[in-house]
Symmetry: C3
Protein backbone atom coordinates (compact mmCIF):
# COMPACT_ATOMS: atom_id res chain seq x y z
CA UNK A 1 0.00 0.00 0.00
CA UNK A 2 1.21 3.46 -0.98
CA UNK A 3 -0.16 6.74 0.44
CA UNK A 4 0.07 9.92 -1.65
CA UNK A 5 -1.00 13.15 0.03
CA UNK A 6 -0.71 16.89 -0.17
CA UNK A 7 -2.74 20.04 -0.58
CA UNK A 8 -5.41 20.55 -3.21
CA UNK A 9 -4.09 20.76 -6.78
CA UNK A 10 -0.66 19.57 -5.71
CA UNK A 11 -0.47 16.83 -8.34
CA UNK A 12 -1.48 13.94 -6.06
CA UNK A 13 -3.73 12.14 -8.53
CA UNK A 14 -1.30 12.55 -11.43
CA UNK A 15 1.50 11.09 -9.33
CA UNK A 16 -0.71 8.21 -8.15
CA UNK A 17 -1.75 7.37 -11.73
CA UNK A 18 1.89 7.41 -12.86
CA UNK A 19 2.84 5.15 -9.94
CA UNK A 20 0.04 2.76 -10.92
CA UNK A 21 1.22 2.60 -14.56
CA UNK A 22 4.62 1.44 -13.32
CA UNK A 23 2.94 -1.62 -11.75
CA UNK A 24 1.48 -2.98 -14.97
CA UNK A 25 -1.30 -2.50 -17.48
CA UNK A 26 -4.33 -3.84 -15.64
CA UNK A 27 -5.32 -0.64 -13.87
CA UNK A 28 -8.28 0.52 -11.82
CA UNK A 29 -9.37 3.93 -10.60
CA UNK A 30 -11.74 4.01 -7.63
CA UNK A 31 -13.54 7.35 -7.27
CA UNK A 32 -14.80 7.74 -3.71
CA UNK A 33 -17.73 9.69 -5.04
CA UNK A 34 -21.24 9.71 -6.17
CA UNK A 35 -21.03 12.70 -8.45
CA UNK A 36 -23.69 14.81 -6.87
CA UNK A 37 -23.27 18.31 -8.21
CA UNK A 38 -22.03 20.07 -11.34
CA UNK A 39 -18.77 21.31 -9.82
CA UNK A 40 -17.87 17.76 -8.81
CA UNK A 41 -18.78 16.39 -12.23
CA UNK A 42 -16.56 18.95 -13.87
CA UNK A 43 -13.66 18.13 -11.56
CA UNK A 44 -14.17 14.42 -12.15
CA UNK A 45 -14.26 15.00 -15.92
CA UNK A 46 -10.89 16.68 -15.84
CA UNK A 47 -9.47 13.76 -13.88
CA UNK A 48 -11.01 11.29 -16.32
CA UNK A 49 -9.16 12.89 -19.23
CA UNK A 50 -5.92 12.57 -17.28
CA UNK A 51 -6.48 8.83 -16.94
CA UNK A 52 -7.22 8.20 -20.59
CA UNK A 53 -8.75 4.80 -21.30
CA UNK A 54 -6.17 2.72 -19.46
CA UNK A 55 -8.05 2.71 -16.17
CA UNK A 56 -11.25 0.83 -15.36
CA UNK A 57 -13.29 3.28 -13.28
CA UNK A 58 -15.34 2.42 -10.22
CA UNK A 59 -17.52 4.81 -8.26
CA UNK A 60 -17.73 3.67 -4.68
CA UNK A 61 -18.59 6.19 -1.99
CA UNK A 62 -18.44 3.89 1.06
CA UNK A 63 -17.43 0.23 0.65
CA UNK A 64 -13.97 0.77 -0.75
CA UNK A 65 -12.27 -1.94 1.30
CA UNK A 66 -14.84 -4.51 0.11
CA UNK A 67 -14.29 -3.42 -3.49
CA UNK A 68 -10.53 -3.85 -3.16
CA UNK A 69 -11.02 -7.36 -1.74
CA UNK A 70 -13.58 -8.39 -4.40
CA UNK A 71 -11.87 -7.05 -7.53
CA UNK A 72 -8.19 -6.81 -6.58
CA UNK A 73 -7.15 -10.00 -8.38
CA UNK A 74 -8.18 -8.50 -11.73
CA UNK A 75 -5.71 -5.59 -11.51
CA UNK A 76 -2.00 -4.82 -11.14
CA UNK A 77 -2.75 -1.53 -9.37
CA UNK A 78 -5.80 0.26 -8.00
CA UNK A 79 -5.82 4.00 -7.28
CA UNK A 80 -8.29 5.20 -4.62
CA UNK A 81 -9.16 8.90 -4.98
CA UNK A 82 -9.56 10.11 -2.36
CA UNK A 83 -9.51 9.24 1.32
CA UNK A 84 -10.84 12.61 2.51
CA UNK A 85 -13.90 12.37 0.26
CA UNK A 86 -14.48 8.85 1.61
CA UNK A 87 -14.32 10.22 5.18
CA UNK A 88 -16.87 12.84 4.24
CA UNK A 89 -19.16 10.15 2.76
CA UNK A 90 -18.82 7.98 5.89
CA UNK A 91 -19.74 10.87 8.19
CA UNK A 92 -22.75 11.74 6.00
CA UNK A 93 -23.87 8.12 6.20
CA UNK A 94 -23.68 8.22 9.99
CA UNK A 95 -20.73 5.86 10.20
CA UNK A 96 -18.87 7.49 13.03
CA UNK A 97 -16.21 4.97 14.03
CA UNK A 98 -13.62 6.19 11.59
CA UNK A 99 -10.78 4.51 13.45
CA UNK A 100 -12.34 1.11 12.72
CA UNK A 101 -13.13 2.13 9.13
CA UNK A 102 -9.52 3.22 8.61
CA UNK A 103 -8.09 -0.01 10.03
CA UNK A 104 -10.41 -2.07 7.84
CA UNK A 105 -9.41 -0.12 4.72
CA UNK A 106 -5.72 -0.48 5.54
CA UNK A 107 -6.21 -4.23 6.09
CA UNK A 108 -8.05 -4.66 2.78
CA UNK A 109 -5.42 -2.61 0.94
CA UNK A 110 -2.56 -4.62 2.40
CA UNK A 111 -4.24 -7.94 1.60
CA UNK A 112 -5.22 -6.84 -1.92
CA UNK A 113 -3.67 -8.72 -4.85
CA UNK A 114 -3.25 -5.39 -6.65
CA UNK A 115 -0.93 -2.64 -5.42
CA UNK A 116 -3.26 -0.14 -3.75
CA UNK A 117 -2.37 3.54 -4.06
CA UNK A 118 -4.39 5.78 -1.77
CA UNK A 119 -4.71 9.50 -2.51
CA UNK A 120 -5.41 11.83 0.42
CA UNK A 121 -5.57 15.52 1.28
CA UNK A 122 -3.78 17.56 3.89
CA UNK A 123 -6.49 19.82 5.35
CA UNK A 124 -4.91 20.79 8.68
CA UNK A 125 -2.35 23.47 7.79
CA UNK A 126 -4.65 26.48 7.79
CA UNK A 127 -6.21 28.55 10.53
CA UNK A 128 -8.48 26.57 12.90
CA UNK A 129 -11.93 26.66 11.22
CA UNK A 130 -14.71 28.52 13.04
CA UNK A 131 -17.20 25.87 12.01
CA UNK A 132 -17.40 22.95 14.48
CA UNK A 133 -18.14 20.37 11.79
CA UNK A 134 -15.12 21.52 9.83
CA UNK A 135 -12.97 21.12 12.96
CA UNK A 136 -14.34 17.59 13.44
CA UNK A 137 -13.63 16.73 9.80
CA UNK A 138 -10.12 18.13 10.08
CA UNK A 139 -9.43 16.00 13.15
CA UNK A 140 -10.81 12.86 11.55
CA UNK A 141 -8.86 13.41 8.34
CA UNK A 142 -5.63 13.91 10.27
CA UNK A 143 -6.13 10.78 12.37
CA UNK A 144 -7.10 8.72 9.32
CA UNK A 145 -4.01 9.88 7.44
CA UNK A 146 -1.84 8.85 10.38
CA UNK A 147 -3.50 5.42 10.56
CA UNK A 148 -2.99 4.80 6.85
CA UNK A 149 0.56 6.19 6.75
CA UNK A 150 1.55 3.95 9.67
CA UNK A 151 0.59 0.88 7.63
CA UNK A 152 1.73 2.09 4.20
CA UNK A 153 5.00 0.80 2.72
CA UNK A 154 5.63 4.20 1.10
CA UNK A 155 4.29 7.68 1.87
CA UNK A 156 4.68 10.70 -0.43
CA UNK A 157 4.09 14.39 0.25
CA UNK A 158 3.28 16.36 -2.88
CA UNK A 159 4.49 19.95 -3.26
CA UNK A 160 3.67 21.85 -6.48
CA UNK A 161 3.58 18.57 -8.41
CA UNK A 162 6.90 17.35 -6.94
CA UNK A 163 6.85 14.19 -4.80
CA UNK A 164 8.80 14.07 -1.58
CA UNK A 165 9.15 10.60 -0.05
CA UNK A 166 8.51 10.83 3.68
CA UNK A 167 8.43 7.08 4.40
CA UNK A 168 9.72 3.92 2.75
Amino acid sequence: MILVGGGSRSGKTGFALAAARKRGTRLAYVAAAELLDDEMKQRAGAHRMERGTEFTTFEEPLEIGALLSRRGAEFDAMVVDCVTLWISNLLHAGREDLKAEGSALAGAAQACAAEVILVTNEVGCGIVPENELARRFRDEAGWMNQTLAARAAEVYWMVFGCALKVKG
Copy 2:
Protein backbone atom coordinates in the same frame (compact mmCIF):
# COMPACT_ATOMS: atom_id res chain seq x y z
CA MET B 1 16.17 22.88 21.64
CA ILE B 2 14.11 20.90 19.12
CA LEU B 3 11.15 22.29 17.16
CA VAL B 4 8.43 19.90 15.94
CA GLY B 5 5.76 21.37 13.69
CA GLY B 6 3.11 20.48 11.18
CA GLY B 7 -0.61 20.65 10.55
CA SER B 8 -3.26 19.66 13.05
CA ARG B 9 -3.44 15.92 13.80
CA SER B 10 -0.15 15.30 12.02
CA GLY B 11 1.40 13.41 14.93
CA LYS B 12 3.44 16.31 16.33
CA THR B 13 2.79 15.61 20.00
CA GLY B 14 3.34 11.87 19.65
CA PHE B 15 6.67 12.45 17.95
CA ALA B 16 7.70 15.02 20.57
CA LEU B 17 6.84 12.63 23.42
CA ALA B 18 8.85 9.84 21.76
CA ALA B 19 11.79 12.20 21.29
CA ALA B 20 11.59 13.14 24.97
CA ARG B 21 11.60 9.48 26.07
CA LYS B 22 14.88 9.01 24.22
CA ARG B 23 16.48 11.67 26.45
CA GLY B 24 15.83 9.88 29.73
CA THR B 25 13.16 9.05 32.24
CA ARG B 26 12.67 12.35 34.07
CA LEU B 27 10.08 13.85 31.75
CA ALA B 28 7.84 16.92 31.81
CA TYR B 29 4.92 17.98 29.68
CA VAL B 30 4.07 21.68 29.64
CA ALA B 31 0.55 22.37 28.38
CA ALA B 32 0.28 25.98 27.22
CA ALA B 33 -3.31 25.99 28.33
CA GLU B 34 -5.79 26.83 30.90
CA LEU B 35 -8.44 24.35 29.94
CA LEU B 36 -11.30 26.70 29.40
CA ASP B 37 -13.97 24.79 27.54
CA ASP B 38 -15.22 21.24 27.14
CA GLU B 39 -13.78 20.70 23.68
CA MET B 40 -10.32 21.64 24.94
CA LYS B 41 -10.65 19.41 28.00
CA GLN B 42 -11.57 16.49 25.77
CA ARG B 43 -8.61 17.11 23.49
CA ALA B 44 -6.29 17.45 26.50
CA GLY B 45 -7.67 14.23 27.96
CA ALA B 46 -6.79 12.31 24.82
CA HIS B 47 -3.28 13.73 24.93
CA ARG B 48 -2.94 12.80 28.59
CA MET B 49 -3.65 9.15 27.82
CA GLU B 50 -0.95 9.22 25.17
CA ARG B 51 1.57 10.38 27.77
CA GLY B 52 0.72 7.74 30.34
CA THR B 53 2.15 8.42 33.78
CA GLU B 54 5.74 9.01 32.71
CA PHE B 55 5.35 12.75 32.29
CA THR B 56 4.95 15.34 35.04
CA THR B 57 2.33 17.75 33.69
CA PHE B 58 2.40 21.52 34.04
CA GLU B 59 -0.29 23.91 32.87
CA GLU B 60 1.28 27.24 32.06
CA PRO B 61 -0.51 29.58 29.67
CA LEU B 62 2.01 32.45 29.62
CA GLU B 63 5.27 32.16 31.59
CA ILE B 64 6.71 29.14 29.84
CA GLY B 65 10.26 30.46 29.62
CA ALA B 66 10.30 31.13 33.36
CA LEU B 67 8.98 27.63 34.03
CA LEU B 68 11.74 26.08 31.90
CA SER B 69 14.37 28.08 33.81
CA ARG B 70 12.92 27.26 37.23
CA ARG B 71 12.28 23.54 36.81
CA GLY B 72 14.61 22.44 34.03
CA ALA B 73 17.22 20.89 36.33
CA GLU B 74 14.66 18.32 37.54
CA PHE B 75 14.10 16.82 34.07
CA ASP B 76 15.90 15.15 31.19
CA ALA B 77 13.42 16.52 28.68
CA MET B 78 10.49 18.95 28.70
CA VAL B 79 7.85 18.99 25.93
CA VAL B 80 6.04 22.31 25.39
CA ASP B 81 2.66 21.86 23.69
CA CYS B 82 2.12 24.11 21.90
CA VAL B 83 3.66 27.34 20.71
CA THR B 84 0.60 28.50 18.75
CA LEU B 85 -1.65 28.17 21.80
CA TRP B 86 0.92 30.17 23.80
CA ILE B 87 0.83 32.91 21.13
CA SER B 88 -2.94 32.98 21.39
CA ASN B 89 -2.70 33.29 25.20
CA LEU B 90 -0.14 36.12 24.93
CA LEU B 91 -2.33 38.08 22.53
CA HIS B 92 -5.37 37.61 24.80
CA ALA B 93 -3.32 38.90 27.72
CA GLY B 94 -2.39 42.02 25.75
CA ARG B 95 1.26 41.07 25.40
CA GLU B 96 1.86 42.29 21.90
CA ASP B 97 5.63 42.19 21.46
CA LEU B 98 5.77 38.62 20.30
CA LYS B 99 9.21 39.04 18.81
CA ALA B 100 10.62 39.73 22.29
CA GLU B 101 8.54 36.91 23.79
CA GLY B 102 9.85 34.49 21.18
CA SER B 103 13.47 35.47 21.76
CA ALA B 104 13.03 35.10 25.50
CA LEU B 105 11.49 31.64 25.11
CA ALA B 106 14.27 30.55 22.76
CA GLY B 107 16.88 31.83 25.22
CA ALA B 108 15.27 30.01 28.15
CA ALA B 109 14.94 26.82 26.12
CA GLN B 110 18.58 26.91 25.03
CA ALA B 111 19.81 27.60 28.57
CA CYS B 112 17.55 24.92 30.09
CA ALA B 113 19.24 21.95 31.77
CA ALA B 114 16.61 19.69 30.19
CA GLU B 115 16.31 19.14 26.44
CA VAL B 116 13.36 21.33 25.43
CA ILE B 117 11.10 20.06 22.66
CA LEU B 118 8.70 22.69 21.35
CA VAL B 119 5.55 21.64 19.47
CA THR B 120 4.06 24.12 17.01
CA ASN B 121 1.42 24.36 14.29
CA GLU B 122 1.64 25.35 10.67
CA VAL B 123 -1.39 27.60 10.14
CA GLY B 124 -0.35 29.50 7.01
CA CYS B 125 -0.96 27.04 4.15
CA GLY B 126 -4.64 27.72 3.59
CA ILE B 127 -6.51 30.52 1.87
CA VAL B 128 -5.89 33.98 3.41
CA PRO B 129 -8.51 34.27 6.19
CA GLU B 130 -11.21 36.94 5.76
CA ASN B 131 -11.04 37.72 9.48
CA GLU B 132 -8.40 40.38 10.32
CA LEU B 133 -7.57 38.86 13.71
CA ALA B 134 -7.00 35.49 12.08
CA ARG B 135 -4.62 37.14 9.60
CA ARG B 136 -2.76 38.79 12.46
CA PHE B 137 -2.51 35.47 14.31
CA ARG B 138 -1.30 33.71 11.17
CA ASP B 139 1.44 36.30 10.71
CA GLU B 140 2.54 36.14 14.33
CA ALA B 141 2.60 32.34 14.31
CA GLY B 142 4.70 32.29 11.15
CA TRP B 143 7.21 34.80 12.48
CA MET B 144 7.42 33.01 15.84
CA ASN B 145 8.04 29.68 14.12
CA GLN B 146 10.86 31.24 12.10
CA THR B 147 12.40 32.77 15.25
CA LEU B 148 12.33 29.46 17.09
CA ALA B 149 13.49 27.38 14.11
CA ALA B 150 16.46 29.72 13.59
CA ARG B 151 17.67 28.93 17.11
CA ALA B 152 16.68 25.26 17.29
CA ALA B 153 19.32 22.55 16.86
CA GLU B 154 16.82 20.33 15.04
CA VAL B 155 13.56 21.12 13.22
CA TYR B 156 11.04 18.50 12.10
CA TRP B 157 8.07 18.80 9.74
CA MET B 158 5.35 16.23 10.41
CA VAL B 159 3.35 14.74 7.55
CA PHE B 160 0.68 12.11 8.32
CA GLY B 161 2.61 11.04 11.42
CA CYS B 162 5.94 10.80 9.53
CA ALA B 163 8.76 13.14 10.60
CA LEU B 164 10.83 14.92 8.00
CA LYS B 165 13.98 16.59 9.32
CA VAL B 166 14.28 20.05 7.79
CA LYS B 167 17.19 21.30 9.94
CA GLY B 168 19.99 19.75 12.00
Copy 3:
Protein backbone atom coordinates in the same frame (compact mmCIF):
# COMPACT_ATOMS: atom_id res chain seq x y z
CA MET C 1 14.30 29.62 -13.02
CA ILE C 2 13.90 28.81 -9.35
CA LEU C 3 10.56 28.40 -7.54
CA VAL C 4 10.35 29.11 -3.79
CA GLY C 5 7.05 28.31 -2.10
CA GLY C 6 5.47 27.66 1.25
CA GLY C 7 2.88 28.94 3.66
CA SER C 8 2.53 32.55 4.71
CA ARG C 9 5.40 33.86 6.87
CA SER C 10 7.48 30.80 6.16
CA GLY C 11 10.55 32.79 5.09
CA LYS C 12 10.00 32.49 1.33
CA THR C 13 10.98 36.06 0.45
CA GLY C 14 14.02 36.08 2.72
CA PHE C 15 15.26 32.84 1.16
CA ALA C 16 14.62 34.17 -2.37
CA LEU C 17 16.53 37.39 -1.64
CA ALA C 18 19.46 35.41 -0.23
CA ALA C 19 19.45 33.15 -3.31
CA ALA C 20 19.48 36.25 -5.52
CA ARG C 21 22.46 37.75 -3.66
CA LYS C 22 24.44 34.59 -4.45
CA ARG C 23 23.98 35.29 -8.19
CA GLY C 24 25.68 38.68 -8.17
CA THR C 25 25.21 42.31 -7.20
CA ARG C 26 22.86 43.59 -9.92
CA LEU C 27 19.59 42.68 -8.26
CA ALA C 28 15.92 43.37 -8.95
CA TYR C 29 12.80 42.87 -6.88
CA VAL C 30 9.51 42.69 -8.76
CA ALA C 31 6.50 43.29 -6.51
CA ALA C 32 3.39 41.86 -8.14
CA ALA C 33 1.38 44.60 -6.52
CA GLU C 34 -0.17 47.93 -6.79
CA LEU C 35 -0.20 48.79 -3.12
CA LEU C 36 -3.87 49.42 -2.70
CA ASP C 37 -4.54 49.46 1.02
CA ASP C 38 -2.75 50.28 4.27
CA GLU C 39 -2.27 46.70 5.38
CA MET C 40 -0.52 45.89 2.09
CA LYS C 41 1.64 49.00 2.30
CA GLN C 42 2.74 48.04 5.79
CA ARG C 43 3.57 44.49 4.66
CA ALA C 44 5.47 45.85 1.66
CA GLY C 45 7.35 48.28 3.90
CA ALA C 46 8.58 45.46 6.09
CA HIS C 47 9.76 43.56 3.02
CA ARG C 48 11.51 46.67 1.71
CA MET C 49 13.60 46.93 4.87
CA GLU C 50 14.60 43.30 4.44
CA ARG C 51 15.92 44.08 0.95
CA GLY C 52 17.96 47.10 1.97
CA THR C 53 19.14 49.22 -0.95
CA GLU C 54 20.70 46.42 -2.97
CA PHE C 55 17.58 45.69 -4.97
CA THR C 56 16.03 47.83 -7.70
CA THR C 57 12.30 47.62 -7.07
CA PHE C 58 9.60 47.30 -9.73
CA GLU C 59 5.87 47.28 -9.11
CA GLU C 60 4.18 45.31 -11.83
CA PRO C 61 0.76 43.80 -11.16
CA LEU C 62 0.19 42.06 -14.51
CA GLU C 63 2.89 42.14 -17.20
CA ILE C 64 5.63 40.39 -15.28
CA GLY C 65 6.83 38.23 -18.16
CA ALA C 66 7.22 41.30 -20.38
CA LEU C 67 9.17 43.07 -17.62
CA LEU C 68 11.55 40.11 -17.27
CA SER C 69 12.15 40.11 -21.03
CA ARG C 70 12.67 43.88 -21.24
CA ARG C 71 14.94 44.43 -18.25
CA GLY C 72 16.56 41.04 -17.64
CA ALA C 73 19.88 41.94 -19.26
CA GLU C 74 20.47 44.63 -16.62
CA PHE C 75 20.43 42.19 -13.69
CA ASP C 76 22.12 39.08 -12.34
CA ALA C 77 18.95 37.98 -10.56
CA MET C 78 15.33 39.08 -10.39
CA VAL C 79 13.01 38.05 -7.56
CA VAL C 80 9.27 37.98 -8.37
CA ASP C 81 7.10 38.31 -5.24
CA CYS C 82 4.67 36.70 -5.53
CA VAL C 83 2.93 34.42 -8.00
CA THR C 84 -0.30 34.10 -6.01
CA LEU C 85 -0.74 37.89 -5.87
CA TRP C 86 -0.16 37.99 -9.63
CA ILE C 87 -2.88 35.34 -10.12
CA SER C 88 -5.22 37.45 -8.03
CA ASN C 89 -4.42 40.53 -10.17
CA LEU C 90 -4.99 38.58 -13.40
CA LEU C 91 -8.38 37.33 -12.23
CA HIS C 92 -9.41 40.86 -11.17
CA ALA C 93 -8.40 42.13 -14.61
CA GLY C 94 -10.60 39.51 -16.27
CA ARG C 95 -7.69 37.54 -17.67
CA GLU C 96 -9.03 34.06 -17.18
CA ASP C 97 -6.71 31.81 -19.18
CA LEU C 98 -4.23 31.28 -16.39
CA LYS C 99 -2.73 28.22 -18.03
CA ALA C 100 -1.58 30.38 -20.95
CA GLU C 101 -0.43 33.13 -18.57
CA GLY C 102 1.59 30.63 -16.56
CA SER C 103 3.25 29.15 -19.65
CA ALA C 104 4.13 32.62 -20.91
CA LEU C 105 5.65 33.60 -17.54
CA ALA C 106 7.66 30.36 -17.39
CA GLY C 107 8.91 30.97 -20.93
CA ALA C 108 9.94 34.54 -20.18
CA ALA C 109 11.65 33.45 -16.95
CA GLN C 110 13.58 30.68 -18.68
CA ALA C 111 14.67 32.98 -21.52
CA CYS C 112 15.60 35.82 -19.15
CA ALA C 113 19.28 36.85 -19.01
CA ALA C 114 18.95 37.19 -15.23
CA GLU C 115 18.29 34.24 -12.94
CA VAL C 116 14.57 34.49 -12.13
CA ILE C 117 13.46 33.47 -8.65
CA LEU C 118 9.70 33.14 -8.29
CA VAL C 119 8.08 33.28 -4.85
CA THR C 120 4.73 31.55 -4.42
CA ASN C 121 2.26 30.54 -1.71
CA GLU C 122 0.79 27.19 -0.80
CA VAL C 123 -2.90 27.92 -0.19
CA GLY C 124 -4.37 24.44 -0.59
CA CYS C 125 -3.60 22.69 2.72
CA GLY C 126 -6.55 23.96 4.74
CA ILE C 127 -10.21 23.00 4.85
CA VAL C 128 -12.04 23.45 1.52
CA PRO C 129 -13.24 27.09 1.58
CA GLU C 130 -17.01 27.66 1.66
CA ASN C 131 -16.61 30.63 -0.69
CA GLU C 132 -16.74 29.61 -4.38
CA LEU C 133 -14.31 32.33 -5.48
CA ALA C 134 -11.81 31.17 -2.87
CA ARG C 135 -12.13 27.61 -4.20
CA ARG C 136 -11.52 28.86 -7.74
CA PHE C 137 -8.47 30.82 -6.59
CA ARG C 138 -7.14 27.82 -4.71
CA ASP C 139 -7.47 25.65 -7.80
CA GLU C 140 -5.80 28.20 -10.06
CA ALA C 141 -2.94 28.74 -7.61
CA GLY C 142 -2.33 25.01 -7.36
CA TRP C 143 -2.32 24.49 -11.11
CA MET C 144 -0.08 27.52 -11.65
CA ASN C 145 2.38 26.26 -9.04
CA GLN C 146 2.50 22.89 -10.80
CA THR C 147 3.09 24.56 -14.19
CA LEU C 148 5.93 26.67 -12.86
CA ALA C 149 7.51 23.87 -10.81
CA ALA C 150 7.51 21.58 -13.85
CA ARG C 151 9.67 24.09 -15.73
CA ALA C 152 11.82 25.29 -12.82
CA ALA C 153 15.39 24.01 -12.45
CA GLU C 154 15.06 24.06 -8.66
CA VAL C 155 12.00 24.02 -6.37
CA TYR C 156 12.12 24.74 -2.63
CA TRP C 157 9.50 24.17 0.05
CA MET C 158 9.85 26.52 3.02
CA VAL C 159 9.05 25.32 6.54
CA PHE C 160 9.51 27.72 9.47
CA GLY C 161 12.24 29.56 7.56
CA CYS C 162 14.05 26.32 6.62
CA ALA C 163 14.32 25.45 2.92
CA LEU C 164 13.68 21.91 1.73
CA LYS C 165 14.73 21.19 -1.85
CA VAL C 166 11.99 19.21 -3.57
CA LYS C 167 13.39 19.39 -7.10
CA GLY C 168 16.77 20.00 -8.72
